[in-house]
């Protein structure tokens, strides 16, 4: 697959802060966006490329798995109904 290679990011000036932000990005995807923690994370994300990319890549990962569907195999419905004794219904 053709993939766009990105340059390695320059180490962020405050790594401790990045680490904290990254470890909470996951929570921020679920939490109330107005909570103090989420507001702080958002502010950091506005200024930090590395964390922004990290968040985007997590979101992309989730999106791919959501889109990856397995359709019901041919005849599976009929086989299920037969197994349940519901062919007549």
């Amino acid at each position: 697959m053709k993939v766009q290679k990105m340059e390695r990011p320059v180490a962020a000036s405050d790594e401790g802060s990045c680490k904290t932000v990254m470890s909470h990005i996951c929570d921020s995807l679920d939490e109330d966006p107005t909570s103090p923690k989420c507001v702080a994370i958002r502010r950091h994300l506005e200024e930090c490329d590395a964390c922004r990319d990290y968040k985007a890549s997590i979101e992309k990962t989730i999106e791919w798995y959501r889109e990856y569907d397995a359709p019901l195999p041919e005849g599976a419905h009929e086989r299920l109904m037969a197994r349940l004794g519901l062919e007549d219904a």
Binding site: V3, Q4, K60, P73, M81
Partner: protein
């Protein structure tokens, strides 16, 4: 007809109501089973077992939780037992390793491929990553992120605490994201 009405009728032995319920959830349950088991035949078998148990235990369903959550729980039990039986190599249980975090999570950005899941290469990468992940993490990721259950519903479906759901979700996401990143870097 409302779902609660359908359930009431199905409990009374109404085949048409039962069939309507099965039809309503069969695609969701198959899809979810596939995402946990990663195998079409096993997913179909799990779907059948799930609905058999559904029919058998319907009278015990009290309506306190959603029917879908109840069905998910049956799938999870079925698939996880099966996965543990089949697996020879141990699954990866993601750890919160700080050095790991610095080196891999920060330095290696996910070079965003423009591909969609229609792409076979991407499917292969997604399959491989999720297959490596310990099933107890896999189900949390699938229920929370993919099926969009709440933390509370997920905790209920798999019988663990809400903090455990949060921590597993966090690690599962990072692990999958990392595996995908690695796959596209080589």
């Amino acid at each position: 007809m409302e779902e609660s009405k359908l359930i009431e009728r199905a409990k009374e032995g109404d085949h048409a109501a039962l069939a309507t319920l099965v039809k309503k959830y069969e695609k969701t349950i198959f899809n979810f089973a596939f995402k946990i088991c990663r195998d079409r035949d096993k997913a179909e078998n799990t779907m059948q077992e799930t609905f058999l148990r559904f029919v058998k235990n319907l009278k015990q369903f009290d309506g306190k939780s959603k029917l879908s959550t109840w069905l998910y729980r049956i799938v999870v039990n079925n698939c996880m037992m099966d996965a543990r039986k089949r697996q020879r190599r141990p699954f990866v249980e993601p750890k919160d390793d700080e050095r790991d975090f610095e080196e891999r999570f920060v330095a290696d950005r996910l070079s965003a491929p423009t591909a969609t899941v229609e792409n076979d290469e991407l499917k292969r990468v997604l399959d491989e990553a999720i297959s490596k992940l310990d099933p107890s993490y896999r189900v949390v990721f699938m229920l929370r992120d993919v099926e969009r259950l709440s933390t509370e519903e997920t905790a209920e479906a798999i019988g663990v605490s809400e903090p455990a759901v949060k921590s597993r979700l966090h690690r599962a996401r990072s692990f999958l994201r990392n595996e995908i990143t690695k796959a596209f870097q080589s």
